[in-house]
Symmetry: C2
Subunit: 373 residues, 2 copies
């Protein structure tokens, strides 16, 4: 089962590009603005109101530059052409999906990042990122509301003989409300990403700040750590084994967080969620250690079946989501089957998104109000 | 005075390269290991026990690749040569200084980062970084000691009409010792860097963790924020004006930190330090607002004169440092002059380092035990 899921996720990662139809594209509107993921002061890459992206790279003596949008190469990517001033420019062949996309440049046969864009850890390397403004971007916008903090912790890990890094979101007021204790969501990144993903490209902290400010959820803590514990050579998803990570998470990180933060250290106040490969980990670990978590969530990370769960009282919530360009019918059917078997199961489909971060930002927004009821 | 300092700092930034003599270099010992700043799983760049650095970049159709080590281009940098397998390789012409160096690649006339190395914000952009292991690297090593946390805060700033980011180091035990209050060091980055610098390439958190674990200092908090507040087009150091930053720091950030962390909110428990341009800011702001800080520190960031300080009781400590390859005599003389005038002044010179981060890591290690006495 595990291996099937791994191969399925790997297949998605290596084949899914962006869905832009190759014909009948609308005329390009010349209202391009710098991407919100650009480095300070950089004009390119730019994005227009339709979702087209335009790139400009300076390398006067280069022979060829291609923008390889996202995993799988987006059907060959976007070739840039050289202008008289030595710069290379090009525009995507059509509008891209809303949300965040990883990409890189292929320059003269080598893989480099776009000097105009910020880097984000994905595909087991720091990649360039671009943001196509989403129509619903307000829910993860930086607003004038009380803000929680995201802190880097270094926790001791005997099983891996080192201090390991995690990021902990504590909601606004955590430091002032010195007697309040909080539930905790353990939230995992996907294959090739790391513990920075959810609070950088995921905007998990801003999603939480906004939901709390609107009174839509009660505050809780989120903990994010690196999930490919035994992956000494990044990229080895086919040989990935979740046992090393399970030990770090359940036997080392959770006790450390419970000892060092004001948590409600009980199964009923603990959730685990993960995207893609992090969903696979969530699936495996929640089933293997049913005494630890009460809330389970798989974001583009597979499904549960009633037969897998030993005891109906084991899970208070089973949340499964994906983008509409992934396998929405599978996710919906799994929720129907679980509900029919008496489980509190919820499915969510993110419209017009694929195996990318807008799907997961939206999933977190939908999941958060359902937790710790 | 301010403009002179700015020009001096700018001159250092744009002309100082790495000091490797061009003649009589020792024979290269083939014990190269991956740099500790490499991306996960990447073999190159590599560094040997003598301090030589070796680079390898894959770009089969490129015309030329030059590694431009650090600000000022290191006397033309290190050209790479093409091998039969399409990769480009090269080794520095001599051993480099110990410590951390920013660099980038020039590929076919364009500036890109090395795909093998992690990126660090310097020179107003995310640059590649490489680490030459220092003989005294132990003081900033990740050890099995209690670790403090580094947390990202978003604080409201009316003067700039946004939520601004800062990083706050809280020492180990901060969350458990719920009644302890702590002094605070406000610690600034240099020109072209940002609020990430001190806790990433600076290892400020590890330096503090180790000093505290060894009983060499009493725990205190460190706050790091972006210092080029009015710099809408990154790089404009000549037109830089510290007033906008002074407002953010003194009138917005300090009150926020005092309200949201367990600080001792008093002048005698507040220090300001900065490196390079951050030293210039420290110099200006400590003099302009003498009621705010009692401890002043300039790290490769100029000096104070007795005449500038209005009142001898104003500063409990004046710390000035630089690398031995900078202006050590100026720093030493300033301390002598201040001492002669009755001030508690201390100078520190980092041996065999230039205007780079090993100078500043060492400076923080020397400064910390002198604070809040």
């Amino acid at each position: 089962m595990k291996n099937k899921l791994l191969v399925a996720i790997f297949a998605i990662l290596t084949t899914s590009g962006f869905c832009f139809a190759q014909t009948n594209q609308p005329a390009i509107i010349e209202d391009f603005k710098p991407s919100t993921c650009n480095q300070p002061g950089q004009e390119y890459p730019k994005v227009n109101s339709q979702g087209y992206a335009r790139f400009r790279v300076v390398a006067p003596q280069a022979q060829s530059i291609v923008v390889s949008l996202g995993l799988g190469g987006a059907k060959g990517g976007t070739p840039l052409t050289k202008a008289d001033d030595g710069s290379w420019m090009g525009t995507t062949a059509g509008p891209m999906d809303e949300g965040f996309h990883y990409y890189h440049l292929t320059i003269d046969g080598g893989v480099f990042n776009d000097p105009g864009a910020l880097n984000f850890y994905g595909s087991t390397r720091w990649e360039s990122g671009i943001e196509i403004p989403a129509h619903d971007k307000d829910f993860y916008a930086l607003k004038d509301v009380p803000h929680g903090n995201v802190q880097q912790i270094l926790f001791p890990s005997k099983s891996t003989n080192t201090s390991r890094r995690a990021f902990v979101y504590t909601p606004a007021g955590y430091d002032k409300n010195a007697k309040t204790k909080y539930p905790v969501l353990y939230l995992q990144h996907g294959w090739g990403e790391d513990e920075t993903a959810w609070s950088v490209q995921g905007h998990a902290n801003l999603i939480m700040d906004n939901l709390i400010a609107e009174g839509k959820i009660k505050p809780f803590i989120i903990v994010m750590t690196y999930g490919m514990t035994n992956d000494t050579k990044p990229g080895g998803i086919r040989s990935f084994n979740y046992n090393a990570f399970q030990t770090v998470l359940v036997d080392e990180l959770i006790p450390y967080v419970d000892a060092n933060f004001r948590t409600i250290a009980a199964k009923d106040s603990r959730a685990m969620a993960g995207l893609s490969m992090g969903g696979m980990e969530t699936h495996s670990i929640t089933l293997a250690r049913p005494e630890v978590f009460s809330y389970y969530a798989l974001l583009s990370g597979g499904t549960y079946t009633p037969a897998e769960i030993k005891d109906k009282s084991q899970a208070k919530l089973i949340f499964m989501s994906c983008g509409s360009r992934e396998n929405p019918d599978g996710v919906k059917k799994a929720a129907v089957d679980l509900k029919a078997a008496g489980y509190n199961a919820v499915s969510f489909v993110s419209e017009n998104t694929a195996h990318e971060f807008l799907t997961w930002r939206r999933s977190l927004k939908e999941l958060a109000p359902l937790l710790f009821k």
